[in-house]
């Protein structure tokens, strides 16, 4: 496993240029093993960058910083007992933020459970993410204008939803809506991955299947998850393209995602709309705060991947292009810290839930039996007091 990244990525010179005039989808129509890259580990340009204005480049940088800082704070909240089990994302910002930025306003995102970074780009307030992992139902409130499906805990189960959602746009004639569906390397082993992608191929739906291959499914390394050489090549079984991208290179991710979304919206004749993107990356931290990665992987491996950290990499590039300087970085850091502070304060001010909340949102109208259960329970809690049920906070 530890050689997967190196073996192909170091062959940077073999990567053909793309994005030249008239070759809009050339980042996609390539051998799955021929990984797309724009920046090398030090932030030097090794491929054609996507056509982005300075503001967007800075936004991508800022959002990665925000995701990283949020992540660090969340992990520490969990350690202090102020939050439950939380799945960190550090290391994966390049893939999440790069891809989410490629979406148009009306596009949709179908997450797994680790895309807190992509979600914030799509309009989900950080407070909601905190509340969710603090175990509050209120965390499930998503603003009506945030085009995002809910967190899906059962691995790969969101993939058929993504196919169905994109299919609904086609059936309803919203030609220019497209979407992105995130899942992990482990998820590719589930039947729902297979069934979901097969439906996408058969109905030719405008969905981009974005695999965050972070090398590990908890303790199971990528190469024991499946015997196929790449995950990207699995797309071939469904009649559409799969492509590998350096998932720790936000600009390469942006470019590939944009090309895939463009193809989803406006395919050439006989060109399939769906694409699978395998974003090769690494999770720096634990699988969740309940996990101890030192049991199954070497610190040395982690260090090797930390050298590819997407944040300093983009920062170096933006500094070299004079888009960022020390002041700008400091200001971004300050803003990001404030934003996360405010979100934590807001989340921690959430009142303890009332027992009747449990019965809301089960059905549009509560059936009589459930009304009876609720009323009886509310009376029980009144009789005994909340403290007989909920732990002191």
């Amino acid at each position: 496993m530890i050689n997967i990244y190196e073996s192909t990525i170091t062959a940077a010179k073999e990567i053909p240029p793309y994005g030249e005039e008239g070759e809009a989808v050339s980042t996609i129509q390539r051998d799955p093993e021929n990984r797309v890259q724009v920046l090398d580990e030090d932030g030097n340009l090794v491929g054609e960058p996507p056509d982005l204005d300075e503001d967007t480049l800075i936004d991508i940088y800022r959002d990665m910083k925000l995701a990283r800082h949020f992540d660090e704070r969340a992990v520490s909240l969990q350690r202090q007992g102020r939050m439950g089990t939380y799945p960190p994302l550090s290391g994966q910002e390049g893939a999440q933020i790069g891809s989410a930025h490629a979406l148009a306003d009306d596009d949709w995102m179908v997450p797994s459970y680790r895309e807190h970074g992509a979600a914030v780009v799509r309009g989900l307030p950080l407070k909601q993410t905190l509340l969710y992992w603090m175990g509050y139902e209120a965390g499930n409130d998503v603003p009506e204008d945030a085009n995002i499906l809910p967190v899906a805990v059962p691995i790969a189960s969101q993939i058929p939803h993504a196919s169905g959602l994109a299919w609904s746009w086609k059936l309803q004639g919203h030609d220019d809506t497209a979407g992105i569906c995130y899942f992990g390397d482990g998820a590719t082993s589930e039947g729902d991955f297979h069934e979901g992608l097969n439906f996408a191929g058969v109905y030719d739906v405008p969905m981009v299947f974005f695999c965050n291959n972070n090398q590990w499914a908890i303790s199971v390394p990528r190469e024991r998850q499946t015997a196929s050489e790449t995950l990207a090549q699995k797309a071939n079984a469904y009649g559409f393209e799969g492509v590998q991208v350096d998932g720790m290179d936000p600009l390469a991710v942006y470019k590939v995602t944009q090309d895939a979304l463009e193809k989803a919206r406006n395919p050439d004749e006989d060109q399939p709309r769906p694409t699978m993107i395998e974003a090769v990356q690494y999770r720096f931290g634990a699988h969740t705060t309940a996990d101890d990665p030192t049991v199954y992987r070497d610190e040395e491996e982690v260090e090797r991947w930390k050298a590819k950290d997407p944040i300093p990499r983009l920062e170096a590039y933006l500094r070299s292009e004079d888009v960022l300087d020390d002041d700008a970085v400091a200001e971004i850091e300050a803003t990001v810290e404030r934003q996360v502070d405010e979100a934590i304060d807001a989340a921690e001010s959430e009142p303890r839930p009332d027992p009747e909340e449990m019965f809301e949102h089960v059905y549009a109208d509560l059936p009589p039996e459930l009304q009876a259960q609720r009323d009886e329970f509310v009376a029980t809690v009144d009789r005994h007091g909340k403290d007989a049920f909920l732990e002191e906070e």
């Binding site: 609904s168 439906f199 459930l370």
Partner: protein, 328 residues
């Protein structure tokens, strides 16, 4: 007066679907072989010709994909009506049913409801191969967030199916294939609703209450008629919706008679008969005059068809059950 057609139960399924698809463009049907083939039981016969390939859709052979993509269609604003070919093939899609179909409203605080109807023929008695005869409704009644409907007449079938499609919540609609073509009834051509959650008293009686639903309604009524000749006056309550159950109707009938029998073809252990018994003794123990009898399938896999008539409750077994309740 409104026009009617004389339809079998499976024709009433087709008619209910067609009627609602006519009225509501968001309704789409999808499943294996439901298009040109019209479904293996012809429940969607001709619908693809009528509504086109975009609304009556043949799918790949993948139940989780069918249910999962229907969930996706519903989040996109449509009202999908997926068909699973036999209820015994819902299991490969069980995770989508339990983890998502049932829980999506809760998980999204009602931002997304899933106005979808998962149809499947259920039950034994048609000499079908293995796995084709299951009646495992409690797998779904035990999961909050789902409604589960099991009609027993053509009239109810159309009305309940239309109610189910219009219901903002996901409905599992289990069709008694044993009686798909057993008899006909006059069914209005127009759209109408039979409310979900209401039982129907199929036969009034004063000596004993017999609770049943779906395909077992007929042998139950037959048994009641047979026993009437012996002077036993059984009330037969057809639940129609098994979740949420019409607890009021059940309790009311029992309070009147003080004796109860529950008939279903699902296995005894963990079947609805236990739930109904528990309900009755919670709500009406003081009225109870005899143990409630369970006349059900046995705790064995449904056998291959040479023996399935042993497995399924029939009028003789229902009569025995009623006698036990009455003679206690």
């Amino acid at each position: 007066m409104s026009e009617t057609q004389n339809l079998t139960l499976v024709q009433a399924v087709r008619d209910g679907l067609a009627t609602e698809m006519e009225l509501d463009d968001d309704v789409v049907a999808l499943g294996q072989d439901i298009g040109a083939n019209g479904g293996v039981f012809r429940a969607t016969q001709g619908l693809q010709d009528e509504f086109g390939e975009q609304r009556v859709i043949d799918t790949p052979l993948a139940e989780s994909g069918i249910i999962g993509s229907a969930i996706g269609l519903a989040t996109g604003g449509m009202k999908p009506v997926p068909e699973i070919q036999f209820s015994g093939f819902m299991y490969p899609g069980f995770d989508q049913i339990v983890s998502h179909m049932a829980r999506y409203r809760t998980r999204t605080r009602s931002r997304f409801s899933l106005p979808m109807v998962l149809r499947a023929p259920y039950g034994g008695g048609i000499r079908a191969p293995e796995s084709h005869s299951d009646s495992k409704e409690t797998f779904y009644t035990h999961e909050a967030g789902l409604k589960v409907v099991m009609p027993s007449t053509p009239y109810d079938t159309k009305g309940l199916l239309i109610s189910a499609i219009r219901d903002p919540d996901p409905v599992v609609f289990l069709e008694p294939k044993l009686i798909y073509r057993a008899f006909r009834e006059d069914v209005p051509t127009e759209a109408y609703e039979v409310p979900i959650g209401e039982a129907a008293v199929r036969r009034e009686g004063s000596d004993v209450s017999v609770f049943t639903y779906g395909a077992m309604t007929r042998p139950t009524l037959e048994a009641a008629e047979n026993l009437a000749e012996e002077g036993v006056d059984a009330e037969v309550v057809d639940l129609r919706t098994v979740s949420p159950m019409d607890r009021e109707a059940i309790v009311e009938s029992f309070k009147k008679t003080g004796r109860g029998v529950v008939v279903h073809e699902a296995p005894k252990s963990g079947g609805l008969a236990g739930e109904i018994t528990a309900l009755l003794q919670e709500e009406a123990l003081v009225y109870q005059e005899a143990p409630i009898q369970r006349v059900t399938g046995f705790d064995v896999p449904v056998p291959l068809y040479a023996m399935e008539d042993y497995y399924l409750p029939n009028a003789a077994r229902v009569e025995d059950g009623i006698r036990e309740a009455v003679e206690f």
